[in-house]
């Protein structure tokens, strides 16, 4: 079977600041319909990779193809068309602080499309309910939201125009374990109902086990291991070993393998995808 075209196709990407290259010859693919978890040490370039993909940071070398388009050749209307196909959730939400939650969700609808006010209101409420909030929350200002609610609104805004590809920057950071678990669940549900492709930057081992179909480990500016979680666990790279076999990693790995849980599921899916 021929593999379908990947959503993101990165080859030999180099990104740096000053004398240092944060990403150095990185290559990876994000396949259609998968949840790819990206992990790595603090300052290891996870967020830099995300921001480079969406074009906020210039690259020094290499190619990035999004939906089959080379980003170097995209400009003007074509670039905006591609931008409309993705949704980005920033680490701290990046909600517009002078707009209400509802206006935040409607912002792109208002700017990019000509929709009736009624439809915009209904869709904003629909989004709120899809991420587990109430219609009444739409009237709140971002400063009145709790951390968990901010994350949910940020996710809802990332989904505003029904993108096919969603990039999430540490969606569960700063949430308590219960809220983080709920959020993982939410991402998983939305991914399957909306048929999303998800690029998930995370620090949260629990998230990796719970939602990711594939994991890519970033170290020394490259992807040092990728695949289903068990393949990654089998990687001999010292950082990978320390990360997953460290105290906290071990605890989780034990829990998940004894349950025969998501790790195995992810692996099966991965093989199905390859086969």
């Amino acid at each position: 079977m021929k593999e379908p075209q990947p959503v993101v196709h990165i080859r030999d990407l180099t990104v740096g600041f000053g004398p240092r290259n944060v990403l150095d010859g990185l290559s990876m693919d994000v396949r259609r319909g998968e949840i790819l978890g990206v992990v790595g040490g603090s300052g290891g370039g996870k967020s830099v990779l995300l921001r480079t993909i969406i074009g906020l940071i210039p690259k020094r070398a290499g190619t990035i193809e999004l939906f089959g388009f080379d980003t170097d050749t995209l400009e003007g209307e074509a670039l905006r068309a591609v931008q409309r196909r993705w949704g980005v959730m920033f680490q701290h939400g990046a909600l517009f602080s002078s707009l209400t939650v509802r206006q935040n969700l409607q912002f792109q609808m208002r700017e990019a499309l000509h929709l009736s006010d009624r439809l915009k209101d209904e869709m904003a409420t629909a989004r709120l309910e899809m991420v587990g909030l109430k219609a009444a929350d739409g009237g709140k200002m971002p400063s009145e939201l709790s951390g968990g609610m901010t994350k949910r609104v940020a996710l809802a805004r990332a989904l505003a125009l029904d993108p096919e590809f969603v990039l999430l920057d540490e969606p569960t950071s700063g949430l308590d374990p219960i809220a983080a678990g709920d959020f993982d669940e939410l991402i998983k549900t939305l991914q399957s109902t909306l048929g999303l492709t998800v690029f998930l930057v995370t620090h949260d081992l629990e998230s990796l086990y719970a939602v990711c179909d594939r994991v890519a480990v970033l170290a020394e500016g490259k992807v040092v291991a990728q695949g289903g979680i068990e393949e990654v666990l089998a990687s001999p790279h010292p950082w990978v070993q320390e990360y997953f076999r460290g105290k906290r990693g071990k605890m989780l790995a034990a829990k998940n393998t004894s349950r025969g849980g998501s790790a195995a599921r992810a692996k099966r899916k991965d093989q199905a995808g390859l086969g």
Partner: protein, 371 residues
């Protein structure tokens, strides 16, 4: 591309055939076409979705909304042929928007607006009084324990708001003094009253303009900076952090700022007044044809120490109030960047208003005591 929507009404009941992409890009079109089919009571509708290629939440919602409207009117609606790929999203969307949307509260109510303004004014006055009290208390405890006085930060503040403000203040007051004198000569010379230009300029600058100009500039330059600093510290919980360490933000952050303003404003007023007089003197010799010794001589006669004192007594009081207003607004910031901007504006507007009001009160007071 297939038609988004075709319908016919053969054989008892409306048959709708959907096609193409029911996605956000076509949402407006689909909404319009669906709106043309007004719901009929007791009718039968069947919607065939088999031809729809892509369905996203916009399309799914429009379909669900249509179904609900007809169902609410008493029609029987059936949706057929949803592809396996499109079924989950429709199932998800059919759960939303169940609760009726509450109508948004009326945004502009003149009476409510006036009431809110008055209660805000009341709150302002109270918080102003509280801040004044807190600062005075902080000064009191500093007198008892001089070690608590924050010398380093005060010196650095004085450098920023006093010393670094000197060039701009000298330049502006110099120019205003020059303009005053030029206007005076232009009009007074018609009556041959050139000499009295010196009286007017000296009076105005010493009693009113020197301190007013400097105070307004300080309110704009320093007051706004204080508000923005304290406001962003408040937003990032730095002030709460100070409190939890058992330190009083009023003693640490606010009292030094106000103290420095109280010292800096008279100094700047003195410098500003001298610069304005110098400007007037330059114009008098260059434009008014008055020799420098004559100007100085006339100034000696016109101006007494009282006039100088009137200006200088006002300065520290005005400085104190600018500081209180600026710090008060800074601590009132909460949440968003918009709030910070609003309070910084408020700080400058209120300070300048306060400067003018205080000046008026002082004018009445000084004329009552004959100064």
């Amino acid at each position: 591309m297939a038609e988004l929507l075709t319908h016919d009404e053969k054989g008892g009941g409306l048959k709708i055939k959907a096609g193409g992409d029911w996605t956000v890009a076509n949402a407006a079109l689909i909404e319009n076409e669906l709106a043309e089919l007004a719901p009929k009571a007791g009718g039968r509708v069947s919607i065939d979705m088999a031809g729809v290629h892509a369905l996203d939440s916009f399309g799914a919602w429009l379909l669900e909304r249509f179904r609900r409207e007809w169902a609410a009117a008493g029609a029987t609606v059936s949706i057929e042929g949803l592809t396996a790929r499109n079924r989950p999203i429709y199932a998800e969307i059919s759960e939303v928007n169940r609760a009726p949307l509450e109508p948004a509260a009326a945004r502009h109510d003149a009476y409510a607006g006036a009431g809110a303004m008055i209660s805000a004014l009341g709150r302002d006055l109270v918080s102003f009084a509280v801040m004044t009290g807190a600062v005075v208390t902080a000064f009191g405890s500093m007198l008892r324990k001089p070690a608590a006085f924050r010398l380093t930060s005060s010196v650095s503040l004085f450098d920023r708001i006093g010393w670094q403000a000197v060039p701009i203040i000298v330049m502006i007051t110099f120019l205003i003094g020059a303009i005053l004198a030029q206007q005076g000569f232009f009009h007074f010379s018609k009556f041959g009253a050139d000499l009295y230009v010196v009286d007017m300029v000296g009076f105005l600058i010493m009693r009113e303009l020197g301190v007013l100009l400097v105070a307004i500039m300080v309110a704009g330059r320093t007051g706004s900076a204080f508000t923005a600093e304290l406001g962003s510290m408040k937003m990032r919980e730095e002030i709460d952090a100070l409190r939890t360490m058992g330190l009083d933000p009023v003693t640490i952050l606010i009292a030094p700022r106000i103290l420095v303003l109280v010292i800096a404003l008279p100094v700047l007023t003195f410098i500003g007044s001298m610069a304005a007089l110098y400007g007037a003197g330059v114009v008098s010799t260059v434009y008014g044809g008055m020799s420098a010794p004559l100007f100085i001589d006339r100034l000696h006669e016109a101006i007494t120490v009282d006039h100088f004192l009137v200006g200088m007594i006002k300065a520290p009081v005005i400085g104190f109030f600018i500081g209180i207003i600026a710090c008060n607004e800074g601590l009132a910031v909460h949440g968003s960047a918009a709030s910070l901007g609003r309070h910084t504006t408020q700080s400058v507007v209120k300070s300048i208003f306060m400067v003018i009001v205080l000046d008026a009160i002082f004018a009445i007071f000084f004329s009552a005591i004959g100064m």
